[in-house]
């Protein structure tokens, strides 16, 4: 319990520190102005979200291999936290895009593949609600999770190579490479913070999933008696 409180406190403090760094330490970008500050939060959340989906994939693989419930809990936990992250990315993206590009949405490779990624994991969660038996639900959703994760690079490259040939309003090639040193420090600090924050969310959600399982067991025992 103390470890959870400690992790929660550290994660919250880091998020506050990151917000301070984004607004007061990072220099204002010359052409985009203040709105560019959303980048630190936006891109860092995207990186963390992709990492969380990777952990989900590992959990799915381990479940199929070992058949231990904890890996199923890890899978559903990471899918939910990952969807939360990607939802944030999909919301902050248009907020940034409107003043800079003049439009909320463009069918560019990164945007579109992020959206498809989000859809795939929404389907993963939907699938879980439609299978009653816990063992079957765990196995089938793990298998779908594996297929979905394998699909992600294919989605990205198919859109990148065949859909972004039109001049898109994305003039951000080499975003990381062209970054001012202070900006880059702030950005990587944000990436770290979002990873810690996601780790905190994963721990908490995992415990909820475990408790839910325990309640299910108790209910079943009570019904038998």
């Amino acid at each position: 319990m103390t470890k959870r409180i400690l992790l929660g406190t550290v994660a919250t403090a880091l998020v506050i520190a990151a917000a301070y760094a984004n607004f007061f330490i990072a220099p204002t970008e010359r052409t985009m102005g203040v709105i560019q500050r959303i980048f630190y939060f936006h891109a860092a959340t995207a990186w963390a979200g992709e990492m969380v989906f990777f952990v989900c994939f590992v959990g799915n693989l381990l479940y199929v291999w070992k058949r231990e419930q904890k890996y199923d809990w890890l899978g559903v936990t990471c899918a939910e936290v990952g969807i939360a992250c990607i939802s944030i990315v999909l919301i902050t993206g248009p907020i940034w895009a409107k003043p800079v590009w003049g439009i909320y949405w463009t069918w560019d490779a990164r945007l579109t593949s992020t959206f498809v990624l989000w859809l795939l994991y929404i389907s993963y969660l939907l699938l879980r609600t439609l299978i009653e038996e816990p063992g079957r639900r765990a196995l089938l959703s793990a298998l779908f999770g594996i297929f979905a994760f394998l699909d992600v690079p294919l989605v990205f490259f198919s859109i990148r190579w065949w859909r972004t040939q039109h001049p898109a309003p994305v003039v951000m090639g080499g975003q990381g490479s062209g970054l001012d040193p202070t900006m880059s420090k702030v950005f990587f600090f944000n990436v770290l913070v979002m990873h810690v924050f996601c780790a905190f969310l994963i721990v908490e959600r995992y415990i909820v999933e475990k408790l839910r399982h325990d309640v299910d067991l108790l209910q079943r025992e009570a019904e038998v008696q």
């Binding site: 199929v64 498809v116 859809l119 795939l120 389907s123 939907l126 699938l127 439609l130 299978i131 009653e132 079957r136 196995l139 089938l140 298998l143 779908f144 594996i146 297929f147 979905a148 394998l150 699909d151 294919l154 989605v155 490259f157 198919s158 859109i159 190579w161 065949w162 859909r163």
Partner: protein
């Protein structure tokens, strides 16, 4: 080799079941026909822009039709309670998937063969000059749809609301197929046709990736 003999026996069973009733082929063909006609009302098929949209519409129709076609793939085994005997009969469960996905690819190709002339007439497109390459694209695209579709139909057959669930799980997975096939087909049907070998290779990569995944994980889909 037992995998080959098992697969060919099961493929024979799949084809016999279908050609006795021809239910799948007729319903999906009619479905594609309806979709093509409806698309023509939603857009204006005579114009030059329609020519640009046409390949995308064709592949979208194929995708939707496939999500109808694969419904019965594993459901039939479950309703007739034949899945356990199938599993006992073959030494490698991958044979079940291989037979079903080859059958599904063949059914899709047959439906496409039936529908292509209508497509060409409705959207005023000449297919003849590029027909062999077009068939290669249709083959690789349909194989990709069938590989992913067979796997997903094994999942959805074991869930509630399976009729809705299958397209929900399958269509986002097939995004790469739709993007690439529509672009490559568009290139072929252009006034100055271009063969985009990179796209054709990409379709082959998609097929190989999902076939390998199915080969590795196929046995787990059918566990009781």
């Amino acid at each position: 080799m037992s995998l080959l003999s098992n697969t060919s026996a099961l493929l024979g069973k799949e084809l016999r079941t279908e050609f006795r009733s021809r239910e799948l082929l007729t319903t999906t063909s009619v479905f594609i026909l309806i979709v093509l006609v409806l698309f023509s009302f939603a857009t204006n098929p005579g114009t030059e822009e329609a020519r640009q949209f046409a390949p995308g519409l064709l592949w979208l129709a194929i995708l939707f039709a496939s999500s109808l076609m694969f419904q019965s793939c594993f459901l039939r085994e479950q309703v007739n309670d034949t899945l356990s005997s199938l599993r006992l009969a073959v030494s490698d469960p991958f044979a079940i998937f291989l037979a079903k996905l080859i059958a599904n690819t063949l059914f899709l190709l047959l439906t496409e063969a039936l529908m292509l002339p209508f497509f060409a007439i409705f959207y005023n497109i000449t297919l003849w000059s590029q027909l062999p390459i077009l068939w290669l694209v249709l083959l690789l695209g349909s194989a990709g749809i069938a590989v992913a579709g067979t796997a997903i139909s094994a999942i959805s057959a074991q869930a509630r609301m399976r009729e809705l669930l299958l397209p929900l799980l399958l269509l986002p997975l097939l995004t790469p197929i739709l993007v690439v096939s529509a672009t490559v087909t568009g290139g072929l049907l252009d006034r100055d046709p271009v063969v985009q070998w990179k796209g054709i290779a990409f379709l082959a990569v998609f097929d190989v990736v999902f076939l390998t995944a199915l080969w590795i994980f196929g046995q787990y889909f059918l566990e009781e």
